[in-house]
Amino acid sequence: MKPLEGIKVLDFTQVHAGSLGTMLLADFGAEVIKVERIGVGDISRYWEPMKDGASGYFASINRNKKSISINAASPEGKEIIEKLVKEVDVVTENFKLGSMERMGFTYEKFQEINPGIIYARLNGYGQKGSLKQAMGLEIQMQAGSGMMERTGFAGGPPVKVGAAISDHTSGTYMATAIALALVEREKTGKGQVIDISILDSLFSLMEANVAQYSLKGVASERTGNGYPGAAGYDTYQAKDGYIAIGISTGRQWKTFCTVMGMEDILNNPDYKTAASRWDLYETSLLAEIESYTMQFTRDEIQEKLWSVGLPCGAVATPEEAMESEQVKAREMVVDIDDLGVGPMKIQGVIVKMEKTPGSVDASAPLRGQDTIHYLESIGYSKEKIEALQANNIVEF
């Protein structure tokens, strides 16, 4: 039995962030009914990588979900949606601000139909605040939130994170907030509105930078691959690539120098204290360390350091990580037979629960594949459903 079994979600989310949020709910047993625009569907159905007209991108974040395809602009379509709202626990959306209202759907309306409804909304800048009308793609969210300003090397340009961190962070917050709202509803019977913004979500990852600015009146520079004050906590060049090493204490430093054969560095009086090592790090020490790390492969360094309990890890390509025994043991890559793409691999379930584990049980739905089932469940007859299709109100 999965923890969210019995929870039904009417899911208006499209593309990445919201779809990721409802995927987390679906992985843990919620019945997520994706509402797609008739004739078109989620626009990420057309996004690369594609095969035989089906998108792997869509497949990976819409697994375990159902799909109904409706013309929500028509009065009959609206009636169907209102009937479905009555049957579900949660409604989710991640449209541009005001789109749901323009379709005639407001929280007040949902509440009238279903007083305990939880309504979760996600977009770039949120439902309130002076920037709420602004539009931003992944890169603008990273640029505007501090994420890019913090990533990269001192003196160099800001750097974009090489993953869709906006979508993942805000989607995971949305799923977590929905879980909180479900707890509240279980206790009081009451639903509520959830307002998640990507800007807030990324800003919340700024660690102690805001505290630093408010306590010290300055923000430190970008710190590249290192950590200010810690000589030995950085990414170094090896014979066949790069390796990250995490030396942070004096004891670790000694062990590191010994196991790497860097006695001359260890015994150099200029590098005696942590402070002196940091002072000379950029000017000389970094290059001296690399003159040793470059003599070995990533694996060789990894073996040396791991054997004495020092933290390090080779810079791996995502594909190398994908093939690693660790990923296999943790089932972080899952084989599926997608209805559109065919056999393919997608990401696994991050949170491992002992008694109620999440899992990938079904591939992403074809557009409108469950339309008939859900229309029947709210009392529509076969004839009526066929008539609705003939009139371009629904699609199956």
Binding site: P49, K187, G246
Partner: protein, 395 residues
């Protein structure tokens, strides 16, 4: 009433990842009791920014709304006290190296004996099982090994770590999701369980485009810097008169408006740039046009121009810009807190805005052992017994 009112969390977590996860619970009313090592405290108490009196803003930023007690877990009496706390708790959380809680006598199997329905949440570098589970890990190591560092940075530069410690905070967020789902499950079934979240899994898990492209096309990841060459042009961040600015398109739609915004309507039908595919092919030439245009304007001018033309845009913001951004203030994302340790400072608000049960900021982070007496008294331990525990250097 807060959502998690009445939920007691015994929090053994240290540094950043675990504290970030229990802060999510504390913001929504959970009674989070942070256990710190007597005489030492959480290691992040030593991390910058430090105030003149040596208190850490880093610690404060990750531990608001929690109460703190200091225990010596190397003493039997310390472990007994921890067990007594756990007996009446709902959730135990820890982020030690795998096996440490077992060595302390506080492993899941042991804890289950005294509280069979406990939710026991562990966060670690590589998880509780798997070939690397025994290894110590920091954020930089995990970013390196899972592939995200390789994917970040410029094609001709070196793999670049994501600045903020996303190995910690994103993993902490996933653990918070797991704990709340497990608590919801316990409300319905009465059963607790073990939760295992790994930094490696959490960061590898956000690299789905790489997994899919490898599996469908056998294509390997390349670093692309701040653009999307081969996929989307214009899409990037470029230097302008007073900083950096980003504007771009999600598809061919809007290209006409982009040309108008740049004051070069003739580009719309230029045979070199008329479609996204052409712009991808001729990115190097097109970039020169972008650099010249962005470089001739300020952030404010660019925001006005692109917004007027309905093009997604944003300036690159630094901490000063963000702390002074009205939008973040209006959204309760900048919270002035009078902290027990560092005094007045600005905390980052919780992004989960729930209309009826919003996050609450009741107090800042605890000083080491600040609530030891209070919590022990709540457990029904007498004044005399508490005095003896102090005398024996257990608390």
């Amino acid at each position: 009433m807060a959502v998690l009112d009445g939920v007691t969390v015994i929090d053994f977590t240290q540094a950043y990842s675990g504290p970030f996860s229990t802060m999510q619970l504390a913001d929504f009313g959970a009674n989070v009791i942070k256990i710190e090592r007597r005489g030492y405290g959480d290691q992040s108490r030593e991390w910058e920014p430090l105030t003149e009196s040596g208190e850490s803003g880093y610690f404060a930023a990750g531990n608001r709304n929690k109460r703190g007690i200091a225990l010596d877990l190397s003493k039997e009496e310390g472990v007994e006290l921890a067990k007594a706390l756990i007996q009446n708790a709902d959730i135990v959380v820890e982020n030690f190296k795998v096996g440490t809680m077992e060595k302390l006598g506080l492993g899941y199997e042991e804890v289950k004996k005294i509280n069979p329905n406990i939710i026991y949440a562990s966060l670690s570098g590589y998880g509780q099982y798997g070939p690397l589970s025994h290894l110590a890990a920091y954020d930089n190591i995990i970013q390196s090994m899972c592939g995200i560092q390789y994917a970040t940075g410029f094609p001709d530069g070196i793999p670049t770590k994501v600045g903020p410690s996303i190995g910690d905070n994103l993993t902490g967020l996933n653990l918070a999701f797991g704990m709340i789902v497990a608590y919801y499950n316990r409300l319905k079934t009465g059963e607790g369980q073990r939760i295992d979240v790994a930094m490696f899994d959490a960061l590898f898990g956000i690299l789905e485009p790489a997994i899919i492209c490898k599996s469908m096309y056998n294509i390997d990841t390349v670093r692309v810097g701040n653009e999307e060459p081969g996929a989307l042009v214009p899409y990037g961040v470029y230097p302008c008169k007073d900083g950096y600015f980003s504007a771009g398109l999600a598809s061919d739609a809007g290209w006409d408006r982009f040309c108008v915004a740049m004051g070069m309507p003739e580009l719309e039908n230029d045979p070199k740039y008329a479609t996204n595919a052409l712009r991808c092919q001729n990115l190097n030439e097109f970039r020169e046009i972008l650099l010249e245009f962005f470089g001739a304007h300020t952030k404010e001018e660019l925001a006005e121009i692109f917004t007027a033309n309905n093009i997604p845009n944003a300036p690159l913001r630094n901490m000063e810009d963000l702390v002074n951004l009205p939008h973040l203030q209006e959204r309760d994302m900048l919270i002035p807190i009078n902290d027990n340790c560092v005094g007045e400072y600005i905390a980052i608000g919780n992004p989960m805005h729930l209309s009826d049960t919003p996050p609450e900021y009741k107090y800042g982070s605890p000083r080491i052992g600040q609530h030891t007496d209070e919590v022990l008294a709540e457990m029904g331990i007498s004044k005399e017994a508490i005095a003896e525990l102090y005398a024996n250097e257990v608390i």
